[in-house]
Amino acid sequence: MKILIVDDFSTMRRIIKNLLRDLGFGNTHEADDGATALPMLKSGDFDFLVTDWNMPGMQGIDLLKAVRADAKLSSLPVLMVTAESKRDQIVEAAQAGVNGYIVKPFTAQTLKEKIDKIWERIEAA
């Protein structure tokens, strides 16, 4: 399982990377905004995307929309992990096709639950 972590803060990327490793996902890669992430996704056979919303350059929501619009990537599971907590934003992310939404600050348990739930749903479909 190859996972891409997108966040502009290296600290947050490291935290998520360590949490994912602890959950048994050791193959993680990092990008610091959507513009860097998109070409990586297009050429890198990733199985899962974890992205922040508010980043310089390309925002996470735009990355999500670009992923959904790309024929090859459209079914990639996307988990948003962000400090953005406006109801309108969550609705927009849902409408754009996000698979899970976690608000910061979050716990290791929440991350595990959301990832498990995403895979359950994908396997059930």
Binding site: K86, R87, I90
Partner: protein, 245 residues
């Protein structure tokens, strides 16, 4: 006929006189009185405008001359900016230092758990007298290596945990800096309120919220009573499930 400064009472008296003269049909006096009242009104208006202009000028002048405001703009605000940058720097350093220590310690803890698990299984077999002499010799060597490893690794782990502890020293300093910046922001706020009051612009039209507000704005601060943001992960989950997730 040069009524430069006429009071309201004087103008009123002349106006009453005017009505009487008009009733009498005294045209020449009527024309003179009309002239008087007109000029007096104009002068009153000019006086009022003049007074207001002077007040505004004085208010703005006193603002301009207030050295505190000048020092706020020239010194305190740039200083606060620098201090806040230092807060970012300190918290970043602390996070890096902590993560370094954790990332070095985690594999050690994992290795110890793994080796202890293996040894414990073999140890049980030994207690059940299931081990050959050869196997016991291996077990004995493994235990010796394990103990040496633990002695070395636990010392590194202790150093790393101590590093994590020391990396928290930023909290005291950033707390002090942020408290000072809050005081400064309060002072600037007070001055802005005073300026708004002086310019008389007290009835500002509220900005209407756009229909769908999804511009990123960073973390919401807890306890500000906003209804357009979720308070925690449970509310996110409720909202998403209401949308069919």
């Amino acid at each position: 006929m040069e009524p430069v400064k006429a009071s309201e009472e004087e103008v009123l008296a002349r106006a009453e006189e005017l009505i009487k003269e008009m009733q009498k049909g005294n045209e020449q006096t009527v024309a003179q009185l009309l002239d008087y009242v007109h000029t007096a009104r104009e002068n009153l208006l000019f006086q009022e405008v003049g007074k207001m202009t002077r007040q505004l000028h004085n208010a703005l002048e006193s603002f301009r001359q207030d050295s505190r405001i000048e020092s706020l703009a020239e010194h305190d605000i740039p200083d606060a900016r620098q201090r806040l940058s230092y807060v970012i720097e300190m918290t970043q350093k602390s996070a890096d230092r902590t993560l370094n220590a954790v990332e070095e310690t985690m594999p050690m803890a994992e290795k110890i758990a793994e080796q202890a698990g293996k040894l414990s299984k073999t140890w049980k077999r030994f207690r059940n007298r299931e081990l050959s002499v050869e196997q016991f010799r291996d077990l004995s060597a493994s235990i010796e290596t394990f103990l040496t490893d633990i002695e070395r690794d636990s010392s590194v782990m202790k150093t790393n945990l101590n590093d994590v502890l020391m990396a928290q020293d930023f909290q005291d300093l950033t707390g002090q800096i942020i408290t000072r910046v809050i005081t400064l922001v309060e002072e600037v706020e007070g001055n802005l309120v005073e300026l708004v009051r002086l310019t008389g612009d007290r009835f500002v039209k509220p900005i209407e919220a756009p229909e769908m507000d999804t511009a990123p704005e960073g973390p919401a601060v807890p306890g500000t009573g906003r209804s357009d943001v979720v308070a925690d992960q449970d509310e996110v989950d409720d909202l998403l499930s209401s949308l069919g997730f």
